[in-house]
Symmetry: C2
Subunit: 337 residues, 2 copies
């Protein structure tokens, strides 16, 4: 029931995703009176959907603590419960991010060794795709949180992006060791000196992200959320400037018509809907946050992200890797005598 | 002597800027052996330049404290001193940002009521141009710092962008009052409740910047630096994707040729060199930081920013406005009885 266009885009999104995900069934939690007519309009979706009715829904402005306390019968909570009981393999929501994280943490619990889960997504760079975390779950982070994000991001990049040895960078205001706040300086020192078998690049700056300098970008949730939305806003602004240029004269319009297929490829390449579906990493269960303002195409992509993680048995892999990395660190590097 | 292409781009930049700034003379501080041949190659620039020789230069990796202590004869320090003594009306440097800020603060001092100066720049949005501060001078900021940035940014937007009543937003991870860290929440409360005659919009998110929702964006230097560089990196990545699309087929190349003038307008509109030249606001003197990696066009723009601020008597205006805003606040809003 969460998001600007729910439940319409949820059902329409299932209709799209179902075409390539033939073996996936969906449990829909929410207001049956609103959902049923939508399923009537999408008979293919109806075949794979079961509706669990509830009147209660978490509003976008609800405080996480309030949602947790008084939202026990909400569509969001019931959907998360279904993952907790094993009835569902994963949960997807376009609703209130803070409430979703609080409830998911409460119901599913965090993985051993992880103090706080993080929101993570991947997005395009000049070299391919990178993973970034945290994107807003943790407003203030200490060095240990950032180190755990680095480890989780590494596992994510290895299993989801299929990279052999992903490189990890900590987002900072300069590449030199003496710059930045205490948390990033300490986290960098820990990762530099640790014997963890991960490839730590060091600090990176904001413009290194689009250049694809590293595969995993580690940052606190405040900075990460703002940086990601700044990129979205910049892309949106440039797309509009480009559109104005393409329609500014008869010659430009003619040129644009000739290069229509090429422009379409460009548009698809940067379409934010293709990158919709952020994963909560560090939880004992698959939980995907869809952008609240997305449409059915974006929601279908969030479904694909969830299905992909489930199919790859991602959570078992991250658990194994974390246990290996955190509880049984390899021999420390030889000390300089 | 600072920046990747100095002093070449400095002299070449003066040569460009001089064409429209006929009444401006330049004092060049640095290695005469390197500068003199460049002035020979730019006879027009030589006419308006006086070289003050020094062997010492601040390196890019120098700590601000070290630069301050042992860089007393450096080109950067001597250039700032010239502003302190009134010999120069303003200083422009492409060198080490931290050292420039530390020295400028030491020599020029901050304005009354300002605890810490901020780095500020303006950049394009869908609605025109906005001002953002801080962009990296202050890694950690408390609520009072942010409130002072808001006041300085307001004055900047009024006098430099020529806006009647610029609106001010604090960058945050959500628009609701309960989101964010303590500093932004407190700063927002202070600005909401204050009787300052400024138009406080409230919180904005990263994607509101490009949309031009507010005229002044207030943030701490850590977040601001990363957000600005993230925007630069995104623009760079999209420009490359677009170039790939425009050259992807014969038809696309033909289309691109037809719309060459329109594409050029687009390119100029987002050219980062047009936005080069960040101002240190809150200092008792005009101090402009040019991007270290810029070329002569970018440096010429930084010169234009400095000349514009000097011509508008910006520092006197900001001083007057700050005194009015901070020392003599108007009557508080009527209390609810």
């Amino acid at each position: 029931m969460g998001g600007d266009n729910a439940p319409d885009m949820v059902v329409a999104g299932i209709d799209i995703a179902h075409k390539t995900l033939r073996d996936v069934d969906f449990l829909l939690f929410g207001d049956r009176a609103k959902i049923d007519p939508l399923l009537d309009a999408h008979p293919k979706a109806r075949e794979v959907c079961t509706v669990h009715h509830t009147d209660q829904a978490i509003t976008d402005d609800a405080k996480p603590s309030t949602a947790l306390r008084s939202g026990r019968e909400s569509s969001m909570r019931l959907a998360i419960n279904a993952v907790g009981t094993g009835q569902a393999a994963g949960v997807i929501s376009s609703g209130n991010t803070g409430a979703l994280m609080a409830m998911a943490k409460f119901v599913l619990k965090t993985l051993p060794g992880i103090a706080r889960p993080a929101i993570s997504t991947y997005f395009p760079t000049q070299r391919g795709e990178s993973v970034m975390l945290d994107l807003g779950a943790n407003i203030e982070c200490d060095a240990d949180n950032l180190v755990q994000f680095a480890v989780m991001g590494e596992v994510f990049a290895r299993h989801v992006l299929g990279l052999d040895q992903p490189s990890i960078g900590i987002l900072n205001v300069g590449a030199e060791g003496l710059k930045g706040n205490e948390a990033v300086k300490q986290a960098s020192a820990i990762l530099q000196e640790s014997a963890l078998p991960i490839k730590f690049h060091g600090f990176i700056e904001g413009d290194d992200i689009g250049a694809g300098i590293v595969d995993v970008i580690v940052t606190d949730g405040f900075t990460g959320n703002i940086a990601l939305k700044m990129a979205e806003g910049t892309a949106h602004m440039l797309a509009r400037f480009l559109k104005e240029a393409l329609t500014s004269s008869v010659l430009a319009r003619l040129g644009a018509a000739l290069m229509w297929p090429a422009l379409n490829t460009f548009r698809r390449r940067i379409d934010p809907r293709r990158y919709n579906g952020a994963m909560f990493v560090g939880l004992n269960g698959i939980c995907i946050k869809s952008h609240g303002g997305t449409d059915e195409l974006g929601f279908a992509n969030a479904i694909n992200v969830a299905a992909d993680l489930i199919r790859r048995d991602f959570n078992e892999k991250i658990k194994e890797d974390l246990e290996r990395l955190i509880s049984e660190p390899p021999e420390p590097k030889a000390a300089v005598v």
